[in-house]
């Protein structure tokens, strides 16, 4: 089974600061923008949902066809968005927590300007 996964960190100003595409599915040149589209569209829903819950992990909040968007919102309203075609909430949650730790580490870097692009 091929899986596609796209992970994007979106800053509080809705600017993507980190993008990564993983997954075994062959990358189609003509659909490269699709994950971006889906994730960006999901921002609207995050906007609504973020205020309704105190949890950082918002679970799967949006889907497009069989692709599911899971979102994790940090305290500074940075959003980790993961686009997956299979769902396993626990795995995603632990993934997000790990990413959160790494993100905080990069925030602690005195040379990193919050909101700027993360390169690694």
């Amino acid at each position: 089974m091929t899986t596609t996964a796209c992970f994007i960190i979106v800053s509080r100003n809705d600017i993507p600061i980190y993008e990564a595409e993983v997954g075994s599915a062959a990358k189609r040149e003509d659909a490269a923008q699709l994950p971006q589209f889906i994730l960006q569209a999901a921002l609207d829903i995050v906007q609504d949902l973020a205020w309704t819950t105190s949890a950082m992990f918002l679970k799967a909040i949006d889907k497009f066809n069989d692709l599911v968007v899971s979102v994790y919102v940090t305290a500074d309203r940075t959003r980790f968005m993961l686009l997956l075609d299979s769902r396993s909430d626990d795995g995603i949650k632990s993934f997000f927590q790990e990413v959160h730790e790494l993100y905080i580490k990069s925030l602690l870097n005195p040379l990193y300007l919050p909101g700027s692009r993360i390169t690694s």
Partner: protein, 1285 residues
């Protein structure tokens, strides 16, 4: 919420779910109707809609109510069947295409998201959606599972022209022609019939018609027959104010002539007829039918018994029929009747009754697994709930249920799904649940991409209108919709949707999205042939650095294709490819400052200015020059830069390729404007501007002849950055303005970039404070001037330190007029020195050699020049037109390192230009000087002879491969006599130093001046001895003359650069060590050996003091120690060599501890500077530390030799005396020795103090006003003499 009936959905339902009247008519009827341009149905339709019919209705209940709104739908019998799918699709497609064309032309782009939201809702939502939805719903009419499209009544129309109208009526209702619905048993064929006789007044008198009516009444009954007379107007010119038929005419025919033959009476007649038909016939008929059906239903299905029976019966039936579409129900089955009852009740507005019946039937259908019917009923239930405005949840649940059930049916229920979804979404929209509505729209999307596209677009608008607006979703769905449109070739729609998505994505950093949108819009515009617009969109994606290589290639290729298709070369103002680094813009121009090479132009202006300070005319001259300039030029141009006609202006600019793929850029050139000099009309500014503009336009024609622009072609690899130098050469006088740069990308697109509003990093001019940037790019072109070109021949780039070499400076004047008054300044006179003209052809290195008849007159004149680094060419030297001047220069690589050399040459022109009187030529060279020999000298006093010094020279060859031949060592000046201590052959048999080899030599140095004062001899002939030959002794080669130019000059430079005065002072010696690099070595291509000179300045003996002394006395004494202690008399000769009076204090110590103590005190109290010996390099610290260490280590050693003093100083332990300047005194000293042995008589110190006479004429001496000297060893052997008592 408002009345559900007044919501869009309510209105739609009240319009669409209304009784259907089947119309049957003869051809004559149609014919007479067509006179008005209308068919019969079109003629009647406007009068079928009753907004206030006000009819009392009594349905199942006993309580009557009044019906306000009522509408009849008229259909020809031939139309009463399920519409052809393909035709319907085709029609929808046409609708969309039509709308697409229309909207495309009038589309105006909302540029901002805010604008998008601020517009009123109605304007935002395209109106054609409603229309489209209606059409879409209509494709589903007359389905067999729903009863509301089944005709309620039948209207039979016969024209009075027909033969035997009564028979025609019978023929009309012939079963063969009736729609299949009535024939296949889905519908009751016994429907209400109404007979209408249509009389055309143009065809004949009315009475014939009345007769026919009577016949009809006899045949069909009194009430069911009626007559309408129309076409009363004869001329057909009646113009209806607000044409009632216009909305019913679908095609685009002109509507003015519609109903031209109908006068007001006709209209009223038709209207009355329709009213009567509905109120007197159709509604009562429906009421009656409802009541009848209701009774039947109550009898069979209501009540406990019936329900149980029904269940039982259905269970039994279950296994018998199992068709995929469920059981077939005929019109007289109870299920159909219930459905009819419900639909009739719905149409008459009795929603409660309708709902109860729908509920009843839905369970039945469900049990029967008649899913389509079940879904239809659920749908109706949802709508009924909605119209009742009771339970929203129920309504939604029903709609969803219906939707899902339809969906389960697959393709069969596809269109029903669509309709159901549309209603559902409409319902949600009515309740402001826009988000949910959008998801419903999204779910409607199915196989039919065109419909999906429209649905997606509607969904996007739902997101836009939701509160708060969900712009991202809006954009996303627009893009999705655009994709679908594209798939069914609705390119205009696709472009429209994409373009409306642009404001959402404007300024976003989601780059892939942005590229996708712009790229596709561009592509699609290209498909439509609108290449201009396509190009603008393609431009947006050109410089997409984040895309993959293939995508970048695709973008570029498509872009170039589109550009090619346009058939012209595009000029794009802000072409992103390649990227121009505006801040890298450097303008290099030459006014009075000219550069010999590009390297010189890159040197900082301040450096040049400091160099030129002395040689360019002083400030008074400059102000004159400014005045002059302001007189000539208008104020406006006073501040512009000056350049000279015929001389190129250079502009450096950086191009960067942001992509990963190579791009080729060609014809890069500057854009310039040159207008003739407005010198003459400088008086009024208005005039001037006017004229300027005129001139600009006129001169633009022959701009090619006035300007020479360079063109550069290059190609950039992925990510490459390149700096391009562009030049423009004005050929006539005037004002030159550099406007921008233009280039050609892949020889297809011309990119332009204006420098206008960008700050320019100006290099050359730094003098003026603040200017508008545009003035920096504006130049006043003045008449062509002579311009010197300079070049230094054979200046090596890489050399070894110490290299001495003659060079030739060549100045050439290409112009027609001579220049004169040349001056030259060299930044680093240690390296370069201007020679005399007569040295030009001198033989090197022979010219350096000593000649017998040397005259040394010119030397001091030279010294002055060198100090200022300034060289005045002789007055009579000028560079004539089209000639060149060569001038010798001496080069000496003084210190190793990377050495920049700046040379600036000043010259004056004569009478050529009033603006510019002089110019400077700047030359810049970089030298790499490698270390060669490291020469150090150490000078120490010879203890015994105060006028003689021991000189130790250490030479290390630091090169890796070169072999130097030592030649000579010379001391500068005539007061020192130098001689070898041992023949050089013994130290260095080969006379050459190989790589890495070191050499130490000892020399004796004699202060001849001092000896002369003591001896009073004449020092005339002995100055030759200031040189020592180190080379082959038998060589008769002459010495290099260190006291004449250029060696002497360079030596002076050395001295001055080390911060020493040129006056040599006593005890300080300067040495010049000269070696030769033999010919045939790798570096030297010439045959003559290279001469290297190393200069050492101000060598002075370590711990040298102005006071020197000598202890003199017997060295060996024989003494009989049985006798009284032996007394030894010594004599100390103290010499004061300074010009001051010295007071000397001699302390002697017997105990070593006190001695030690005092020494320590002395060393600490003494300022360390006074102990410093010679210094070869300015860094004094190292040597100083070494000497102090040497001193302190020496002290304990000397003490340890002699742990217990075996002698005492007899006589005074302290002697004081005053010494006159340059005098000598003798002091007697005496010691007492008690035992035989060898004694070191060094335990005394000399404290001396200088009292300067009159003024401190000699600074160095005056500083050294006091000091402490440790006694030096004097060994005395005392022997026991036994031979005699």
């Amino acid at each position: 919420m408002a009345d559900p009936a007044s919501t869009p959905l309510g209105k739609m339902l009240l319009e669409e779910i209304t009784p259907v009247v089947m119309v049957l008519c003869t051809p004559y009827v149609e014919e007479s109707c067509l006179k008005n341009g209308l068919s019969l149905i079109q003629l009647l339709s406007p009068f079928c809609d009753f907004t206030n019919i006000d009819v009392p209705v009594r349905t199942a209940s006993d309580q009557p109510y009044r019906l306000r709104k009522f509408k009849l739908r008229l259909f020809y019998s031939s139309d009463i069947r399920q519409p052809n799918l393909e035709v319907a699709k085709e029609r929808l497609k046409k609708v969309i295409t039509h709308v697409g064309e229309k909207n495309f032309l009038e589309s105006s782009d909302p540029s901002q998201v805010n604008n998008l939201l601020s517009r009123p809702e109605s304007e935002m939502l395209p109106s054609w959606f409603q229309f489209f939805n209606k059409e879409l719903v209509r494709t589903l009419s007359f389905s067999d599972h729903e009863a509301f499209d089944h005709p309620v009544a039948c209207l039979l129309v016969v024209s009075s022209k027909d033969d035997e109208p009564v028979n025609r009526f019978v023929d009309l209702f012939n079963t063969n022609k009736l729609p299949s619905l009535l024939n296949d048993g889905a519908m009751d064929p016994k429907i209400m019939k109404h007979y209408l006789l249509l009389h055309d007044n143009q065809d004949g008198p009315f009475n014939k018609a009345t007769k026919l009516l009577a016949d009809m009444r006899n045949a069909f009954g009194q009430n069911d027959c009626q007559i309408i007379c129309f076409n009363s107007s004869q001329d057909g010119k009646i113009h209806h104010q607000d044409n009632p038929w216009a909305p019913f005419k679908s095609d685009a025919l002109p509507t003015e002539n519609l109903g031209g033959f109908l006068n007001l009476d006709d209209l009223n007649e038709i209207k009355d007829f329709m009213q009567e038909l509905s109120s007197k016939h159709i509604i009562p008929y429906m009421e009656q039918k409802i009541r009848v059906l209701n009774q039947q239903v109550s009898a069979t299905r209501k009540g406990f018994r019936n329900q149980i029976k029904n269940l039982w019966w259905r269970k039994g039936k279950e296994d018998t029929i199992d068709t995929p579409n469920g059981p077939v129900y005929t019109f007289n089955s109870i299920e159909s009747q219930i459905r009819i009852l419900g639909d009739y009740a719905f149409m008459l507005g009795d929603y409660e009754l309708a709902l109860s019946n729908y509920r009843l039937i839905s369970t039945d259908y469900k049990l029967d697994k008649a899913w389509k019917r079940y879904a239809g009923v659920q749908e109706m239930m949802g709508l009924t709930y909605f119209l009742l405005d009771q339970s929203r949840k129920d309504a939604e649940y029903c709609m969803e249920n219906a939707f899902n059930t339809y969906l389960k049916l697959g393709s069969a229920g596809r269109r029903n799904t669509t309709r159901c979804g549309l209603w559902w979404a409409e319902m949600l929209k009515t309740r402001d649940q826009l988000k949910e509505a959008a998801t419903v729209y999204f779910r409607i999307c199915g196989e039919d991409t065109l419909h999906s596209a429209v649905m997606l677009e509607q969904a996007s608008f739902c997101y836009l209108l939701s509160k708060p607006p969900m712009l991202h979703k809006y954009g996303f769905h627009l893009v999705l919709s655009g994709d679908h449109y594209k798939k069914c070739d609705q390119i205009k729609h696709a472009i429209r949707t994409y373009r409306s998505a642009i404001p959402v994505y404007k300024g976003t950093t989601w780059s892939l999205i942005k590229d996708h949108v712009h790229f596709h819009i561009g592509q699609w515009y290209a498909l439509l042939g609108m290449y201009d617009v396509a190009v603008t969109h393609m431009l947006e994606v050109l410089a997409s650095t984040h895309q993959s290589k293939t995508t970048q290639e695709l973008f570029l290729r498509d872009f170039l294709q589109i550009v090619q298709k346009t058939g012209k070369t595009f000029e794009v103002l802000k072409l992103q490819l390649p990227v121009i680094n505006i801040s890298s813009l450097k303008v290099i121009f030459e006014d009075q400052r000219t550069n010999a090479s590009a390297a010189a132009a890159r040197v900082k202006e301040s450096l040049w200015r400091s160099l030129e300070e002395d040689i360019i005319p002083s400030s008074t001259a400059r102000s004159n020059w400014l005045e002059l300039q302001s007189k000539i030029m208008p104020r406006k141009y006073k501040e512009s830069n000056i350049c000279v006609a015929g001389e190129a202006l250079k502009v450096d600019i950086e191009f960067k390729n942001p992509l990963q793929i190579p791009i080729s850029v060609s014809s890069v050139s500057l854009m310039c404007e040159l207008c003739a000099n407005p010198e003459e009309d400088a008086n009024s500014s208005n005039n001037e501007v006017q004229n300027n503009e005129d001139r600009t336009s006129t001169s633009s024609g022959d701009i090619n002849s006035c300007l020479i622009l360079s063109e550069v072609d290059f190609s950039l690899e992925g990510g490459e950055t390149t700096v391009v130098q562009l030049t423009v050469t004005p050929r006539i006088e005037g004002i030159l303005k550099i406007v921008g740069v233009k280039w050609k990308l892949s020889s297809a697109v011309v990119g332009l970039c204006n420098f206008e509003f960008n700050p320019v990093n100006r290099v050359v001019r730094g003098r003026r404070k603040q200017h508008s940037p545009s003035s920096d790019l504006k130049f006043l072109v003045i008449k062509s001037l002579p311009r010197l070109q300079g070049f230094i021949h054979s200046l090596p780039e890489k050399t070894y330190a110490g290299d001495l070499w003659p060079l030739v400076l060549e100045l050439s004047n290409q112009s027609k007029s001579p220049v004169k008054n040349l001056k030259m300044k060299i930044s680093n006179p240690r390296f370069l020195y201007a020679g005399n003209q007569k040295e030009l052809n001198a033989d090197f290195p022979a010219c350096l050699k000593k000649k017998m008849n040397v005259e040394k007159s010119g030397r001091h004149a030279n010294v002055n020049k060198t100090l200022q680094n300034l060289y005045h060419f002789p007055e009579d030297i000028s560079v004539q037109e089209e000639t060149s001047l060569s001038w010798p220069l001496w080069f000496h690589a003084a210190v190793p390192g990377n050495i920049p050399l700046y040379i600036t040459i000043y010259y004056e022109m004569e009478g050529v230009s009033s603006i510019m009187k002089y110019r400077t030529l700047r030359m810049h060279y970089n030298l790499q000087v490698l270390p060669s020999l490291d020469v150090s000298f150490q000078l120490s006093t010879r203890p015994s002879r105060s006028q003689e010094f021991l000189l130790r020279m250490d030479v290390v060859n630091k090169t890796s491969s070169e072999c130097f031949q030592v030649h000579q060592l010379s001391s500068v000046g005539q007061q020192w006599e130098i001689s070898l201590l041992q023949p050089v052959d013994s130290i260095l048999p080969s006379q050459s130093l190989f790589a890495g080899q070191s050499l130490s030599c000892f020399f004796m140095l004699k202060d001849r001046r001092r000896s002369s004062t003591s001896e009073d001899s004449i020092p005339s002939l002995s100055h030759i001895q200031s040189d020592v030959r180190l080379g082959p002794q038998d060589n008769s080669e002459a010495f290099f003359d260190v006291s004449s130019s250029p060696l002497a000059d360079f030596h002076d430079c050395e001295r001055s650069s080390r911060g020493m005065s040129s006056q040599g002072c006593e005890y300080k010696v300067d040495f010049v060590f000269i070696t030769q690099l033999l010919k045939g070595n790798s570096d030297s291509s010439s045959n003559t050996p290279l001469v290297f000179s190393h200069h050492a300045c101000d060598c002075s003996p370590s711990s040298m003091s102005p006071i020197s002394w000598l202890v003199d006395g017997p060295r060996t004494i024989q003494h009989n120690f049985s006798a009284p202690p032996c007394e030894v008399n010594l004599k100390m000769t103290i010499t004061n060599s300074s010009d001051a009076i010295a007071s000397v204090h001699i302390n002697t110590f017997d105990s070593p501890s006190s001695n030690n103590q005092l020494i320590n005190d002395a060393t600490t109290s003494q300022p360390p500077e006074h102990q410093s010996g010679w210094s070869e390099i300015p860094i004094v610290n190292d040597t100083k530390i070494i000497t102090t260490e040497a001193l302190t280590t020496r002290v304990p050693k000397s003490l340890s030799l002699e742990s217990v003093p075996q002698f005492i100083w007899s006589g005074t332990s302290s002697t004081k005396l005053v010494l006159q300047p340059r005098s000598t005194a003798e002091i007697p000293l005496q010691i007492c020795v008690f035992t035989p042995g060898i004694y070191d008589l060094s335990n005394y110190i000399l404290n001396w103090n200088l009292t300067p006479v009159n003024d401190g004429e000699n600074q160095g001496e005056a500083n050294k006003s006091s000091g402490v000297c440790q006694g030096y060893p004097y060994y005395l052997s005392v022997l026991e003499s036994n031979f005699k008592d």
